[in-house]
Each structure stands twice: as C-alpha cells, then as structure tokens.
C-alpha cells in the first residue's frame, strides 16, 4: 500500500537556522512526490514537486530512492516560512487511467524570531 510518513508533527527553529522537514514514502512503483504548504488562513498550495527539480522560496527537496525519502530543506529559515507542510505521493490508478495523491499527516513549522 502507498504510504507517506512525516515523522515530526511539530518543528521549531530560529530565524536564520537551517530547517529540514522529513518525508518518507512507501510505494512499489515509480514515485512522483510533492510538497504542499498551508499558511495561516490560506488555502493549501503547491510548494514544489520532484519532477521540476526547482527551488521555491529557498526550499529544495531531493528524491532519494534508496532511502525512499523526499526531505524538504532550506538553509536559512525565515519567519514567513511558518506554516503547515504536507508531503504527498502521487500514484497511478491503472484501471481508471487516473491518479490520486496520498498525503502525509503534516509537519507544523514554526520559525521563531
């Protein structure tokens, strides 16, 4: 079964410190992974996706197939990074020709001044 694990419910760092939000997945196929972010009183939105290999708002994430991980990293955290972060795994539904997204339980990041 497909599963996404975010081991930390809460993560607190000081402004300027490095931050790493952990994500591990379980999937027998070829994974496509995403990070979504939800700022206070805003809708859930895409932060970055594995296929794009981009850096958004200073965040990067590397897929490690050997460790089945997709950790989110930022070298210098900012107060505006405080938010709820969700890792998500996209899986194929062969019969229907569609896909679904399985989410982890989320990590609440607080960046203190």
């Amino acid at each position: 079964a497909q599963r996404v694990t975010q081991p930390e419910k809460l993560l607190s760092v000081f402004k300027g410190a490095p931050v790493e939000l952990k994500c591990n997945y379980s999937y027998s196929g070829s994974p496509e992974l995403f990070w979504y972010v939800q700022y206070s009183r805003q809708r859930l939105q895409l932060l970055l996706r594995h296929i794009s290999r981009e850096s958004i708002k200073g965040f990067t994430a590397d897929l490690n197939k050997g460790e089945t991980s997709f950790h989110l990293k930022k070298p210098f955290a900012q107060e505006e990074d405080s938010a709820m972060y969700y890792c998500a795994l996209k899986t194929r539904i062969t019969q229907g020709g569609s896909e679904k997204l399985v989410f982890g339980k989320g990590t609440k990041l607080t960046v203190n001044p």
């Binding site: 975010q6 419910k9 496509e32 995403f34 979504y36 809708r43 859930l44 939105q45 895409l46 996706r49 296929i51 969700y86 996209k90 194929r92 539904i93 229907g96 020709g97 569609s98 896909e99 679904k100 997204l101 399985v102 989410f103 982890g104 339980k105 989320g106």
Partner: protein, 113 residues
C-alpha cells in the same frame, strides 16, 4: 489562475441531516477530489473523479457519496451526517497527468451537532 470554489466556508448541521458540499472549478480540469483535513491526521482522500459521471473511492468513503454531472462541478454528499464527520473538507482539481499538481479550494468547515 485556477480557481476552485467551495460554496460554503462554514456549515452547521444536525445529526441525521443530508448534507451537500459543492465544489466548482473553472479550468476544465478532468480530475476532482474531496479530502477531509483533521489535526494530527493530515488529509485523507474520500472520493475522486477523473471524468463526468465517473467516481472512485478514496481511503475513507464510508458515510459519503459523490456526484459529478458536469465537468466543472463535484459534489460531496453526507447521506446522514454524524458527529464524527465534523471536519474541514477540501476540494481539489487537477489536469489529467501524472505530474499535474492539485489546486485546492478554501475548504468548508462542517460542524455536525
């Protein structure tokens, strides 16, 4: 910009009532999804649809049904609301494609008393 609109921001219903949650997207997306979001449990997929009149069960479909009569509209139905269905409900849509991200609505906070 993609717009996913959920008809109600807050709803209060009584136990046993039939509840309709409506979602409309304006970008001609094939896929539409209903998730519920609970603290400590993350996002859990209830139902999704990849075409008009097509639906697939997600991970927690019990007590829910859906309707997709038009491509832009995806309705979630609680046949007989119960207190354990008190939650934040999120609608999302995406293009058909493994790398397509989900676009979320603002959510409907449903309270069942």
């Amino acid at each position: 910009d993609v717009k996913v609109t959920q008809s109600s921001r807050y709803l209060v219903k009584r136990t046993g009532e039939k509840v309709f949650l409506e979602c409309v997207q304006d970008m001609d997306h094939e896929n539409m999804f209903w998730y519920r979001q609970d603290p400590g449990l993350g996002l859990r997929l209830i139902y999704f649809s990849y075409d008009v009149k097509m639906k697939e069960k997600g991970d927690i479909p019990e007590g829910y049904s859906v309707s997709r009569e038009k491509k832009e509209r995806f309705s979630l139905i609680l046949e007989s609301a119960s207190t354990n269905q008190t939650s934040m409900y999120l609608c999302a849509s995406s293009l058909l494609g493994f790398y397509s991200p989900l676009h979320f609505g603002n959510g409907t906070r449903l309270t069942v008393t």
